[in-house]
Symmetry: C2
Subunit: 352 residues, 2 copies
C-alpha cells in the first residue's frame, strides 16, 4: 500500500487554520503525517486534529522539511517569504494569500472550475483566490459554461473576519458599545461611541457600512476591487472580461455576500439558470422569495457551499441575470478551497 502523502499547514492557529483542522478531521483518510506550523509566538501550543493532539512548530526552514504538500493560511507578506522556501524543498505549495495570485507562473485554482490547472505549476506553487472572488466564482463559472459571460458588475457585502481575528474582535467590541443605546440617528454618534476601537477598519463598522476594503490602488480603486477583476478573469480563463467591483465591509462576523449583475453573450432563462445552479458542484440554490428563501450570511455561515438566490432576468436585457450569493469566507473562501486544491495535489502522490 502506498503511504499517504504528508501535509504541513502553515498558519494553523488563525481563523482559517481552525477551519482547516476541522476539515482535516472530516477528511481524515487523505493525509499521512500532518504537521502544524505557526509563528514563533504560537509554537509549542497543542491543537486537536483528527482526534489527536498535535504540537505547533515555529515557522522556519526546519518546519518546512519533508512535506509533500504545504498549505499556507497566512498573510501575503509571510507567504511571499516562505512559500518559495517550501517549494524549493520539493513540496507542492498551496497559498491562500494574494502573494502569488497574479503571477503568470502560478495557477489560480477553484477545483470546481479549473482542477486541471493544479498540475501546471512551474514555481511549484498553486494559489487560491480571495474569499470574495470564491464566494461568486463557482456560481458564475457554472452559468458561464452554459451562457458565455460578457460582463460582470459586482457589489460586495464583506464580513469582518476578512480582516482576520482582529476584525472579528473589533466588530464585537463595537457592537457591545452601541448595544442598548439610541445611537445611529445623529451625525457622528456611532463614531463617538466607537472611539478608538476601530480595529483594522477605516471607519466604525457597527451600525454602519464601509465602502472600502484592501489597499489604495490606482485611480481610486481598492486593491480588492481590482483583485476581484483580475482573479475572476484568471479563474474563468477570460482575460478581457469587463469586471467592475465595489467592495463594501458590513457588520457581519463571517460570510461574504455579493450582488452580481452578469451579462452573457446568449439570452438567459431563469428556469434554465436554476437548473444549472441546482446541479453545479459547490453550489446550493436557495431562491424562493415567496416563502422567504434567499441566502443570508447568518444562515450560510459554517457551511461549505456557495449559496445562490435572488436569480432574476433583467426586464431590459434578456442576456442579463442578477444573483445574490453568500459564501463562508473562512470555509470555501479560504481553508476549504485550499484543502480541495491540496487534495487534488495529493492524488499525484498516490501513484508513487
Amino acid at each position: 500500500m502506498t503511504p499517504r502523502p504528508a501535509l504541513t499547514v502553515v498558519g494553523a492557529t488563525g481563523g482559517a487554520g481552525a477551519v482547516m483542522l476541522q476539515i482535516l478531521t472530516q477528511h481524515a483518510d487523505v493525509w499521512g503525517e500532518v504537521r502544524l506550523v505557526a509563528s514563533a509566538r504560537s509554537a509549542g501550543r497543542k491543537l486537536l486534529v483528527r482526534g489527536a493532539e498535535c504540537e505547533v512548530l515555529a515557522l522556519g526552514e526546519e518546519a518546512l522539511e519533508g512535506a509533500d504538500v504545504v498549505v499556507f493560511l497566512v498573510p501575503a507578506e509571510v507567504a511571499a517569504r516562505w512559500a518559495p522556501v517550501a517549494a524549493a524543498k520539493g513540496a507542492v505549495v498551496v497559498d491562500s494569500s494574494a502573494a502569488f495570485r497574479m503571477d503568470p507562473d502560478v495557477p489560480l485554482v477553484v477545483p470546481e472550475l479549473n482542477p486541471h490547472a493544479v498540475r501546471m505549476r512551474p514555481r511549484g506553487i498553486v494559489a487560491s483566490p480571495h474569499a470574495t472572488t470564491l464566494a461568486m466564482s463557482v456560481a458564475v463559472g457554472a452559468l458561464h459554461a452554459e451562457f458565455c459571460l460578457s460582463e460582470l458588475v459586482v457589489s460586495t457585502y464583506q464580513a469582518a473576519s476578512g480582516e482576520g481575528q482582529p476584525g472579528v474582535e473589533a466588530l464585537r467590541r463595537q457592537v457591545s458599545l452601541v448595544a442598548g443605546t439610541q445611537l445611529g440617528t445623529n451625525p457622528g454618534d456611532v463614531r463617538r461611541a466607537v472611539g478608538d476601537e476601530l480595529g483594522p477598519f477605516p471607519a466604525p463598522l457597527a451600525l454602519n457600512v464601509v465602502p472600502w476594503t484592501g489597499e489604495l490602488a490606482d485611480d481610486g480603486w481598492s486593491s480588492q476591487e481590482l483583485g476581484i477583476r483580475d482573479e475572476l478573469r484568471k479563474v474563468l480563463g477570460l482575460p478581457r472580461l469587463p469586471v467592475s467591483a465595489t467592495c463594501v465591509r458590513v457588520p457581519v462576523v463571517t460570510t461574504h455576500s455579493a450582488s452580481v449583475h452578469a451579462r452573457f453573450e446568449n439570452e438567459v432563462e431563469v428556469a434554465r439558470a436554476h437548473e444549472i445552479l441546482a446541479t453545479a458542484p459547490g453550489v446550493v440554490l436557495f431562491d424562493n422569495p415567496a416563502v422567504g428563501e434567499f441566502p443570508t450570511p447568518a444562515d450560510v455561515v459554517g457551511t461549505d457551499p456557495t449559496w445562490v438566490g435572488r436569480v432574476r432576468r433583467s426586464p431590459d436585457d434578456p442576456r442579463v441575470l442578477e444573483l445574490f450569493v453568500c459564501g463562508d469566507n473562512l470555509r470555501k473562501g479560504t481553508a476549504l478551497n485550499a484543502a480541495h486544491i491540496a487534495e487534488l495535489a495529493a492524488r499525484e502522490f498516490n501513484g508513487r
Copy 2:
C-alpha cells in the same frame, strides 16, 4: 403683505414627521398656520414646532380643511385613502408614499432635477420618490446632464428605518441580543439568538444582511427593486433607461447607501465628474480614499445632502463610472424632499 400659505402635515408623529418638525422650525418664515395631523391614536398629543406647542389632530375630513398645502408622511394605504380628499378640498398635496408615484397624472419630483414638474398636477397631487431612489437621484441626475445616462446597475445597503420605527426598534433589540456574544460563526446561531424578534424583517438583521426589501413582484423581483427602476426613469425623464436594482437591508439605523454603476453615452472623466458633483445642488462630494474620505451612513446620518464618494472610471469602458452614495432616508429621503416640494408649491401662493 400677502399672508403666508397654510400647511398641514399628516403623519406628524412618525420618524419622518419628527424630521419635518425640525425642518419647519429651521424654515420658519415659509408657512403661515401649520397644522399637525396623525392617526386617532396620537390625537391630542402636543408637539413642538417653530418654538411653540401644537396639538395633534386626528386624521379626517375636518383636519384636512383649509390648508393650502398638505404633506403626507404616512404609509401608502393611508395616503391612497386621504390624499385625494385633501386635493378635493383644494390643497396642493405632497405625498411621500408609493401610492401615487407611478400615476401618469401625478408628477414625481426631486426639486434639484425637475422642479417645473410640480406645476403639472392634474390630480392636485405631487409625489416624492422612495428614499432609496432619492439617495442616488440627485448625483446621478447631475452626471446625466453632462454625460447622458445609458444604463444603471444599483445595489443598495438600506437602513432599518426604511421600515419605520418598528424596523429601528427590532434592529436595536436584535443588536442587544447579539452583543457581548461569540455569535456569527456557527450556522443559525444569530437566528436562534434573535428568535421571534425579527420585527418587520424577513430574517435577522443584526450581524446579517438581508437581500429583500418591499413586497414580492413579478419574476422574482421585489417591489422596491422595480420601484427604483420606474422612479428613476420618471424623475430623469428617461422612460426606457435600463435599470437593474438589487435591494439589500443592512444593520444600519438610518441612512441608505447604494453602489451605483452608471454607463453613459459619452466618455467620462473622473476629474470632470468630481467638478460636476462638487457643484451639484444637494450633493456633497467626499472622495479621497487616500486619507480615508468616503461616505458612510454613520457620518452622513442627520445631514441634508446626498454624499458621494468612490468615484471611479471603469478600466474596461471609458463610458462607465462607479459611485458610492449615502443619503439620510428620513431627511432628504422623505421629509426634506417633501418639504422642498411643498416650498415650491408655496411660492404659487405668494402672488395671491
